[in-house]
Amino acid sequence: MAADGDDIPKLSHPLEIPKLKCGAMEGLQPFIAAPEHQEKLGFPGELVPNWKEVALAKMAELAEKNRAFQVYLDACVKCGACTDKCHYFLGTGDPKNMPVARQDLLRSVYRRYFTFAGKYFPSLVGARDLTEEVLQEWYSYYHQCSECRRCSVFCPYGIDTAEITMAAREIMDAVGMGQKYSNEIIGKVKDVGNNLGLNPKALAATLEDLEEEIEDDTGISVRLPLDEKGADILLVTPSADFFAEPHIDGLIGYAKVFHEAGVSWTLSSYASEAANFGLFIGSYENMREIALRIRKAAEDLGVKRIIFGECGHAWRVAYSFLNTLAGPFDFLDPKYPVPQHILEFTWNEIQKGTLKFDKSQNDHIKLTYHDSCNVARASRMGDEPGGQFEIPRNVIKAVCNYYYDMDRSTTHESTLCCGGGGGLLTDDLMELRKKGASPRMTALQEVTEEHGVTHMAAICAICKTQFSKVMPAYGYDMDSIVSVHQLVSNAIILTGQDGDDDDSEDETEAA
């Protein structure tokens, strides 16, 4: 039964468990990568003739190189704790979108070729041969996982389906069956330096436009420097921040914060991308190559600190992996963690009292906050565990009067993915994206009904793009999704700006 693109599920509760709809999403596959995109990443251009041997060899290699892969394939007891935790399962009802069932697509093959039980008693333990159909099934369902890690929170062994999805994508890349969206973008980063393929000239022009816009708005000259040697801070931000709404308003917010804090900073045209799609395809080598661009930019520009803009998966790679992939960063100022998140910087400045706000500038907004999955479950901000939840909310509450949290079972470490993460933010998967967003949208509708919430803030480029695309399907305007630093930008009073009514920044929130 082919699913209709417009049949968005109506949930009575964000986490309502659907009836199983076997095969509901079976036919959905993203476009396959063209040979040129594959080869640029070091993968075969198209499906190799001996793909089966190559796939099994890759699987053996992964079991040698990655403990998570090995342990997670062995340890699952099929208890079922994860079965109702994936937003794609909740949104589609397809049982193969249950985390354990998604893992089993690969585990069944691993068992068949690499375990005693699977070799000699395949039907007993659910082991199966690797066939063309299995490969197609992998291509479908490993591109219906956004690697958001929600399942890993609830698994008694911490089994993270994201790790299995990444491994499966790595295997598919190795046999020449990569995904167009992710692989084409990684190629662009290697050629030009960012996901958009925005060249340095165009980038410089964009930043100049933004400077003019800020000056028109505020009467204050706020700079957005590019490739300035000797600046203290290198800001690495997702390239969506240079052109997309509401991302760009966030970028304006960062610039204003830096301006008021009186620090010198710069963007880099060489490392003009925070997102690292190498993560999505599970490729350590590609992820490393992209991460090394940031190191090189930092060295070339002679900066002392690196700060990342609002971006979820980027922050995961930055916070958790950058030191591994491109470290050690002993050439930077040891007083600061490497890297820092822009929200860590802004919250720090707020605490120091260097920023002045007029919170009433956000009074037209009643706000909630969407914890972006990879920030929530794969990173941290600040010194304490859980800082990734508190710091964004602290900043929001410092600049907004009306703030309301969504149902606790859908926030913090239990947050729901926006539905477009992990390399799925592509139009060929729009049906999945709309359905996968339904649990989050239902949670949002609840706070809208209860508190009149009008807007949702996020700190991830993918979340922002995804929500601006799918929110209209759920009865919200596309600009109902906002950047956190957009709110900061709205409320901040720049030194010398007219209408400075000197609100205290430590005023408590009205909510």
């Binding site: 190189k65 342990v71 099929k78 354990v100 929170v153 089994i159 941290r380």
Partner: protein, 240 residues
């Protein structure tokens, strides 16, 4: 004859269990985790990780967050099992240790928790659509085996007693490489046979979750990637 068969069975089962699990643990320990992937919020110190792991294996913290029914049945089964196992130590030591004595009454009735837990988990496998979907025949067989072990044990404890002193003599004999006479009660033979099967399949089945949980990177890693550089040996080679 029967005694010899069971003696051989237990020697083989013990060797397979010990060697098999040791090999798996060695494999897990030697396979590097190339990246820092703790599920956050995660502890920032090793002490914190020990505490997290303790809560995970003693209280099944994540499972509790996930599903109260699976937690209840799973936790009752596992905790009952520990008490029953402790109680069984008395059959392997000549003098019974004081803390084994102490656990005796608890260990006796813990078998009901074990059985209840197992039957609850089994019912879920049959009644809950999602769990039925992910269940393989081996999952049913594993439950059947465990129910057979617990059921036969309870039979001997509460209904038809076996010559437990003879069983103890047999076990103590095995430990000293002597084969004593094992009583021929069918229930006892089922009990011991099923236990031996469980020992044999341990290293090649999902029972590997027991050692596996300690090697799960999302649970056993310290959240300190900015402070301490984490790098796998194979990844280090990419840098030269």
């Amino acid at each position: 004859m029967l005694s010899v068969i069971y003696a051989i069975l237990f020697y083989v089962a013990t060797i397979l269990l010990v060697v098999g699990v040791a090999m798996k643990i060695r494999k897990y320990a030697r396979t590097p985790a190339p990246l820092k992937i703790p599920t956050t919020p995660a502890p920032t110190t090793t002490g914190g990780v020990v505490l997290r792991m303790f809560r995970e294996v003693v209280f099944f913290e994540s499972l509790f967050k996930s599903n109260k029914w699976i937690w209840l049945f799973g936790w009752a089964f596992h905790m009952g099992m520990w008490l029953v196992l402790i109680r069984h130590i008395r059959y392997f030591t000549y003098d019974i240790w004081w803390w084994v004595q102490l656990a005796q009454p608890f260990g006796t009735y813990a078998s009901f928790a074990m059985l209840g837990g197992l039957l609850g988990l089994w019912a879920r496998r049959i009644l809950v659509e999602r769990i039925r979907y992910i269940t393989n025949p081996s999952d049913h067989l594993m439950l059947a085996l465990l129910v057979a072990i617990v059921g036969s044990g309870m039979m001997m404890r509460f209904v038809v007693h076996t010559d437990i002193l003879a069983v103890k003599a047999f076990m103590l004999g095995l430990m000293r490489l002597r084969i004593e006479t094992l009583p021929g009660d069918p229930i006892l033979l089922v009990h011991l046979g099923a236990v031996a099967v469980l020992m044999i399949i341990f290293p090649i089945s999902k029972l590997l979750h027991a050692p596996g949980v300690f090697f799960s990177p999302s649970r056993n890693q310290v959240d300190n990637p900015r402070e301490v550089r984490h790098i796998a040996p194979w990844a280090k080679k990419l840098e030269s």
